[in-house]
Amino acid sequence: MRILVIEDNLTTRQYLQKALKEQGYEVDLAENGQDGLFLALEGDYQLILLDRMLPKLDGLTVLTTLRNAGKKTPVLILSALDSVSERVKGLREGSDDYLIKPFALSELLVRIEILIQRKGSNSDKQTNVLQVADLKMELLSRKVFRGNNEVILQPKEFKLLRYLMEHSGQVVSRSLLFEAVWDYQFDPQTNVIDVHMARLRKKVEFDGLPSLLETVRGVGYRMVEQG
């Protein structure tokens, strides 16, 4: 797993390199847009972390050039420009995700995992049924069963559970869940997602059935297959 980090700030670059290496990724570094673009075009990376403001070549230009050259490597933009319009612009230019500085490392790692996974599973079969242990979700009829019992969910709870089941085994952060279910680009900064998760848990893990939703301290949630 190779990741390219294009970032002009030395502290952030070293910090990203260290953190990613500890997670078992191989890391290449570029300190300006020109070098970054060259490496991105030549090398074979699973993911590119791209700073928005770069010397020599601006981050958005790097991204557009890359996409125009036919490179489909997932790109996660890291930026201190946190206005919604900047974010929308980045996503429109073909980035796969956008993270605002300062970000939590855990959040970054979760998003990297999801991006790499998404890239890998893009060619996967279109499925109509999601299943984790004895929890089954029928996407067409929008029905959910735990064992033989139907679980009645509200539309947002359904979306929440679907995202978790689609990424079962992976850690997903609160902000990722919020973005996936509500589709608004900001971080509500409160425990509101935890409250939603608690409610969902009550519905899915009734009658002392084994827990499927695991809380990952300081990061988010994970759907796990147990028993």
Partner: protein
């Protein structure tokens, strides 16, 4: 009529101006009165005095003659004199006869006290009122009278003319006083309006300066200069806060990175990380406040040029999404959230920002309305209303809650930084909308109205 009453009430309540008007009218009245008295004394008074002097002369003369002449001689000369005098009516009454122009003696006070009585005057062929008095003389009584009816008429005319003059003076005084006071009031009200606006946080309000260059204009330009300096200071302070937030963000981000690396290292060595994590949490709160402040400034500055990123937003869907998000939080406090969506509404805008504004208002309602409260999100034909039946906000605080970092005293215990409503207002204004805090009786109703 109601307009006049309202205006009058305003004039009456502006005590200083009303006092000035009264003083002015009073002065005008006394000047006119003094002038009239002087005029009276110089004209009618003078004539009166002359008449009296003349009568006294006649009486003195006749007394002298009566002493020097025999009764027959006196009567003879008196008769001649009575005939010849046209203005003065003379008569001499004894027990036996009546000499002169009066056929009969009326009862008159003793001279010089005058009394009026009617007589037939041949020369006018009519009955006229004359003033006269009686003077005992020798064996009879001398009656002297003067035809002063024209003088009385003059007096009456003078008095009515004076009354009219005084009325006019009062009227003139009041009118000029009120016109003057209205102008003064208008200008003072101008100052008051500006003071009220500044009090409400609109530091850009200025007093109008006229071209008359009078003391009000001097005062206005002084106040305007003062306000400009104040505004400049405020902007500098706001700018400094932003600059601090901006400059501190980078080193604080680096601090955050270092703390995270430290946590990772400790986790690898299986050492406790709770303390570092709680420090990280505090740091995140600081960073969140800073970025909210910067975002607020950006939103407030963006007002004109942000519409290029606007898309068609279905407000109904945004409200449903926001209510979906808050609902379990409200449920934890046994609060009931109801939706009223009579008809769909869409507008050009930024869906994420609108969602944040609506969610923020719902979150505030849930936070402050208390356990068991009822919260309602209602779509109106040109906006929406978020209301609750909690304690509400007092009138004196309604404007202030929109100020940056302002927090109501009794809410200090609740988590938050006092940026929420300021942010909501900035978002609504970015969408050319207005935000109003109304009484829900009980509770608070936040009414958002979009202009187009």
């Amino acid at each position: 009529m109601a307009l006049v009453t309202a205006w009058w009430n305003r004039v009456k309540s502006a005590h200083s101006v009303w006092r000035l008007t009264r003083l002015y009218t009073g002065l005008l009245l006394s000047v006119v009165a003094i002038l009239l008295v002087v005029l009276y004394q110089l004209s009618i008074g003078q004539m009166n005095r002359q008449q009296q002097l003349q009568m006294a002369n006649i009486i003195a003369q006749q007394t002298l003659l009566a002493e020097q002449l025999t009764t027959a001689q006196f009567v003879e000369q008196f008769e001649l004199q009575a005939q010849s005098s046209r203005q003065y009516i003379l008569s001499y009454q004894t027990k036996q006869q009546s000499i002169g122009r009066l056929s009969e003696a009326p009862t008159l006070p003793q001279c010089p006290t005058l009394s009026r009585f009617p007589i037939w005057l041949d020369q006018y062929d009519e009955i006229r009122l004359v003033s006269g008095c009686a003077q005992p003389l020798g064996s009879g009584t001398l009656i002297v009278a003067v035809d002063d009816e024209s003088l009385y008429e003059l007096k009456a005319q003078f008095i009515s003319a004076s009354a009219i003059a005084l009325c006019l003076a009062i009227l003139l005084g009041l009118i000029t006083g009120l016109i003057f006071s209205k102008r003064v009031l208008k200008r003072i009200n101008g100052f008051n309006q500006v003071a009220l606006q500044v009090e409400a946080g609109h530091l850009s309000a200025r007093v109008a300066v006229s071209e008359q260059n009078d003391e009000y204009d001097h005062m206005a330009s002084h106040i305007n200069t003062m306000l400009s300096q104040l505004q400049h200071s405020f902007e500098t302070i706001a700018g400094i806060t932003d600059a601090i937030a901006h400059d501190l963000r980078t080193p604080l981000s680096h601090l955050r990175q270092q703390m995270e690396s430290e946590i990772l290292d400790k986790q690898l060595e299986n050492l406790p990380t709770e303390q570092l994590e709680s420090m990280l949490h505090k740091l995140d709160e600081i960073l969140f406040t800073f970025s909210s402040m910067l975002e607020l400034t950006r939103l407030q500055q963006q007002r004109e040029d942000n519409s290029q990123n606007f898309t068609n937003v279905n407000l109904q869907q945004v409200i449903i999404d926001a209510v979906d998000l808050i609902e379990p939080l409200a449920e934890e406090k046994q609060q009931l959230v109801t939706l009223q969506l009579p008809s769909p509404l869409s507008l050009q805008g930024d869906a994420t920002l609108l969602f944040r504004a609506i969610y923020n208002l719902l979150e505030n309602a849930s936070k402050y309305a208390g356990v068991n409260a009822q919260i309602e999100a209602r779509l109106t034909p040109n906006g929406f209303i978020i209301s609750d039946n909690g304690p509400g906000i007092s009138d004196s605080e309604k404007e202030k809650v929109f100020q940056r970092l302002y927090r109501i005293e009794k809410s200090r215990g609740v988590a938050g930084f006092g940026l929420g409503l300021t942010l909501v207002k900035a978002i609504i204004q970015l969408h050319s909308g207005t935000i109003e805090l109304l009484d829900n009786k009980p509770g608070l109703a936040v009414q958002i109205t979009f202009s187009d």
